[in-house]
Symmetry: C2
Subunit: 343 residues, 2 copies
């Protein structure tokens, strides 16, 4: 028998924790128990967690609960959290990769603290100069990976190359059937456009481009992000964060206005009867819960950050993402990709 | 009688020129001739322009045509264009602000060439270190101004302060009834977030904030861009360009998918009968033609760039923008705002 995939979950992180976390876990178990190739380690208040588990009638076949006394709150800063953190569910959830043989850690708690604790415990890989936060992004062809989303506000060309190798590895681990195609985010698609850092990264990526590792598509502009021709979008953390949030804001603006239009009078309400199923499919395709989970790459172990405000379905998608990442052998993919850089 | 607003238009710039340009002008005249406070100077092939004018039955009361022999093409680079440009419609349209007493110039031609020619002819204002490209952006409360959209890929704090003063002046000239509220685009709203440049700009803008000039709202994140609480969004040209294009791409992705959903079967097509007018209103609110026209600020005269691919309605909106800008006394507003910086 091969080793089981072990996912460490901070049961106490995020709004409505641990209720939504355990509810999300139930959906995951309902969909994946048949595989019998994983085990979930839950960190948090044992009593409350066990109450939730029995309330939902979850079998404990695939679950182990580890009691922790404290919780990292939204008000904690990295400084306060690190001072009192060794007993928190978040700390122990990450630490499980060192001491408890977990393969990956998942939390919906305080982002700033999570990034700092993760770096402290897991340490940056020796092959990488800076870790990066990667996210999933909907596209015409399915899903893309975008990184960095805000871990590093200033990046040099070496960082962008590392992000490309790690992003390609992540893409391969989540979508083993697909090939990663890298696009470097810029304000024009011509080779002469952009900052000096981008130009240097461009010429190095052109060299590195190959069928086994990743194909480099060149520069990509913001309006092509969702076309899907490039499925790994590489940028610095400042730009990536602005692009991600601008896309979120735009999507909200449009769907809010659409909702208003389609409910403004009796006629439009009648129209909804006829378009109900199609609009539901449309909504489902854009459902942000499907893309829930940012992946912290470049440490000696992967950490997934779920949105704090998501619900049980969003949290379920994050657990699924953890499962896929480990099944797809992320850490080996990253090491293999980064080894190309030594040549 | 006060001096007439004189708008110089490059009749030959953009796709389907001069047809769409003159058609756009007709819509403008139909809506504004009653004011009798403007004159349009058209630059381009006199014969073709006059043919279009008579085909559309436009009165020449508010129009003067200036013959020019050459056209800047999409294939021209700033270098080739400058070499042969003194006879082009674009060159003469800008030059009209020096020699022809025009107050503003409008072109839908080659953007790169337009920016270079404009700087050459009009020169950067002595109070400003770098000119900026500003655009209009839809918001929950109406319209916002965003700058820089790509004229300067690297900016220091002085540039960002200049952009704030010029953006506020532009906002006041277009929306004289409203007050400019500045938001500095960043990856978080807390004062400690962001690059050193942003932090320095933040503290200076906080000092400059006042009821007469502009109110500084602090940092704004990408997802709040369209809320409208800040109506002048300030950023460097790299970030602004990425944000603008990402918003465009996201809007296209969503509306394409919505269109697909609402036409996919008989039922949804029936639904369209009931929602037709509401969806039309929805579409109109997001119509990019309403926001057509980027304003080049910081030269000794304003230049407006229309999208090359827009149609007559989009071009009409650009002419209206030019008219409003001059009626709102943009250049004096800019000078008055920049004079605050000397104190």
């Amino acid at each position: 028998m091969t080793k089981k995939i072990t996912i460490a979950i901070d049961a106490m992180g995020g709004e409505n924790a641990p209720k939504k976390n355990i509810e999300g876990l139930k959906i995951f178990l309902d969909n994946n128990s048949i595989n019998k190739d994983f085990i979930i380690h839950l960190f948090g208040d044992e009593k409350i967690i066990n109450e939730e588990i029995s309330k939902l009638g979850i079998s404990k076949e695939f679950i182990k609960v580890f009691h922790t006394k404290d919780i990292v709150s939204d008000e904690d800063t990295p400084l306060t959290a690190v001072k009192n953190s060794k007993n928190t569910s978040m700390w122990n959830c990450i630490d499980a990769q060192i001491n408890g043989h977990a393969d990956i850690s998942l939390s919906a708690g305080n982002t700033g603290v999570l990034l700092v604790i993760s770096r402290m415990i897991l340490k940056t890989m020796k092959e990488v100069s800076k870790p990066a936060l990667a996210g999933l992004w909907p596209s015409e062809k399915g899903m893309s990976v975008v990184l960095d989303l805000g871990a590093n506000i200033e990046c040099d060309e070496k960082n962008l190359i590392d992000f490309s190798e790690m992003g390609a590895a992540l893409y391969k681990s989540i979508f083993p059937e697909q090939k990663p195609h890298i696009g470097l985010l810029n304000i024009g698609s011509e080779e002469i456009k952009g900052t000096e850092t981008l130009k240097k990264a461009y010429s190095k990526l052109k060299q590195l481009s190959n069928e086994n590792n990743f194909v480099f598509n060149g520069y990509i502009e913001g309006n092509k992000l969702m076309e899907g021709k490039s499925n790994v979008i590489v940028t610095d953390g400042f730009t990536g964060n602005i692009a991600l949030k601008t896309a979120e804001g735009t999507a909200k603006f449009i769907t809010d206005n659409l909702k208003k239009s389609l409910t403004e009078n009796m006629l439009t309400k009648i129209s909804l009867i006829f378009s109900y199923f199609s609009l539901k499919k449309f909504k489902s395709k854009l459902d942000p819960r499907k893309y829930n989970g940012a992946i912290f790459l470049g440490l000696n172990g992967p950490v997934v950050k779920s949105h704090g405000g998501t619900d049980s379905i969003g949290f379920y998608h994050s657990i699924t993402l953890c499962y896929k990442i480990i099944k797809g052998n992320l850490m080996n993919q990253i090491k293999s990709n980064l080894s190309h850089l030594d040549v």
